[in-house]
Symmetry: C2
Subunit: 354 residues, 2 copies
């Protein structure tokens, strides 16, 4: 029996609704597998916790998390209660950095049973490899002067180490897929960091002669994701560009509510963190109508990373079976509740697992 | 008779093909108007010029341009010949900055006669007001260390003056439209410049109580442009975010090749510059198949800005008539050449002008 200790942080808003749904699916695959056991430990770290304690997690929060095998997170943020940059940098971004989850892997594909908002999409299936630890998301910067003369500097900081690491990961991933890597750049407008990014991409790419590699400016790339997403296999992007591309990936799949993500510590020195692309969605929180698929597909990514790809496939297959049967939450044009959608997927996991 | 002196820079690639097409349309509306005359002065500043002269324009280039009423530009860039950041910062970005064209106005709407790649788009009609002079496009920054340890800093610089100017322009524009302004932000991830951006947006918005104002993170905003573009009226965005949103705007209209843009010196102290969203498209340059609509629609924006909105309407109406008649270049799924598409629009301008 392989037992895994998982830190579970439901977080805010719909995170609290979709995490339990995904845990039920993870229990189901453990059941089916027979030799796999989950030990969940729940952490109530979120914006309410912040209002009570003045911080998003206790002082030893990170060292506590580092003792777990993996972290399973819902969503963070309640901008009406706590400014986003406090809640997110105090929890989500902080865990990403302190657990050195320097690569964020975010697949997008046209699922069976789903209508894309695109008119006639050819089946697409790409993965965005997002540098997850630096770049445009930097605490370096500040203001000078006030009033009319106020001026703010924001530093984006790119290191060769992290840039090359994300790119290598992208090329390795492409080698298991269709051997194509596109680098998201903007070196025509952003003249220090992006020409550097292009240069590292060329250098890293040289070690992978079997892969087709090219750079595309982020503006055009966003347009291409709408016009011909089937063109793409692996896309490697900076922190900001990866963020933008993956919400767009969610949109062309049919809903941001289904897009999954994995914050990987590829060295497996610290736990990785699995949290979907979507946020806490305060507007629909508490209504029981959130789409659980983003969180459940994210559970599949955890299974893949932990060495159970066949269980991962089972989960994704069940999601597609359920969508094909027309079980859809409101964001996908259906009427199913979170509970109905999750229970249907759960039943189909057992069906497939028989 | 009102005579206008226009500096024409066809630039590189398809710029040289679509600019003449648009000038014919501008001649046609002058004809129809009767009291309007264009004096074109052509400047051969482009990447070939750079290869011959070692610079994108002569030393007195900017002061020469400042003597004109407006600048009409095609596209710049031939990355195979000259690195993009040299060609673009030596010409396009330089003119934007030195002529203080601090606002870039970029409309997107579902044209009559066009199929959007979106499945069932409700008619949409929004304008992106892009801060055009600072922000993420900054020459401040540099590298330290080399090899494994190389680290690059890129500064984004935001001033209250330019930020507030773009936002005021957005609110004034919304007052003539549907009184809704969305600000593109990313203050949950970019913690110095974007919280500042949000704060200025709130302050500027307070002076426009009749407008509905809200901030949306750029990742979600890109997704919404795909899922419900009809929601948007005016979007105000930083230099980079505006760049991304407007290529995406082109994509949902049906082609980046039709998206127009106006780089405005709102004070009318220096000439404004009219150049479409698309670039020089080296891959299709010289084949005579580029879509002239982006450049022709850009000519409409010049007419609007110069105080001839009825002529502008005439041009856009003719574009829509032509598309509705099925005259489309390859990017729109048709077979028309640049010449055929332009001639058809020209004929329809005369028809409408009768
Ligand atoms: C070519 C590039 C510098 C430019 C920009 O990003 O401003 C272009 O993409 C545009 O949108 O006009
Ligand atoms: C909430 C925010 C800081 C975060 C990000 O931009 O990284 C989110 O959008 C995401 O994509 O995980």
């Amino acid at each position: 029996m392989n037992a895994y200790n998982i830190a579970v942080i439901p977080g805010d808003g719909i995170g609290k609704e979709v995490v339990p749904a995904a845990l039920r699916c993870l229990e189901a695959v453990a059941d089916i597998h027979g030799g796999l056991k989950w030990n969940w430990t729940f952490f109530p770290w979120n914006c309410e916790y912040y209002l009570q304690h003045g911080e998003m997690m206790p002082e030893d929060g990170i060292s506590t998390l580092k003792q777990f095998d993996q972290i399973f997170l819902g969503a963070v943020g309640m901008p009406e209660l706590v400014p986003d940059h406090i809640s997110l940098w105090g929890l989500l971004v902080r865990i990403r950095r302190e657990c050195e989850q320097s690569i964020n892997v975010r697949p997008a594909k046209l699922l069976r049973g789903l209508d894309s908002p695109l008119r006639n999409p050819e089946p697409f299936d790409f993965v965005v490899v997002r540098e997850n630890s630096e770049g445009e998301y930097s605490q370096a910067g500040g203001a000078i002067h006030s009033g009319e003369d106020e001026l703010v500097v924001q530093n984006a900081i790119f290191t060769r180490r992290q840039t090359a690491k994300a790119m290598k990961y992208a090329f390795e991933l492409a080698a298991e897929r269709r051997q194509s890597v596109v680098s998201a750049t903007k070196s025509n407008g952003i003249v220090h960091s992006m020409p550097f990014w292009d240069r590292v991409f060329e250098e890293v790419g040289a070690a992978y002669p079997d892969a087709a590699a090219r750079s595309v400016h982020i503006d055009a790339l966003c347009a291409y994701l709408v016009m011909r997403p089937q063109q793409f296999d692996v896309i490697v992007a900076s922190n900001l560009f990866g963020d933008i591309l993956t919400d767009l990936g969610g949109a062309i799949m049919g809903s941001i509510g289904i897009a999954p993500a994995a914050n990987l510590n590829v060295e497996r020195k610290y736990p990785s963190m699995f949290e979907p692309v979507h946020g806490s969605a305060p507007d629909i929180a508490g209504k029981g109508i959130a789409n659980p698929i983003g969180q459940i597909w994210t559970a599949k990514q955890m299974l893949d990373f932990m060495g159970y790809p066949e269980l991962g496939e089972l989960v994704l297959g069940a999601i597609e079976d359920s969508l094909s049967a027309g079980v859809k939450t409101g964001d996908l044009g259906g009427t199913a509740t979170t509970e109905e959608a999750a229970s249907d997927i759960l039943a189909r996991i057992y069906q497939r697992g028989k």
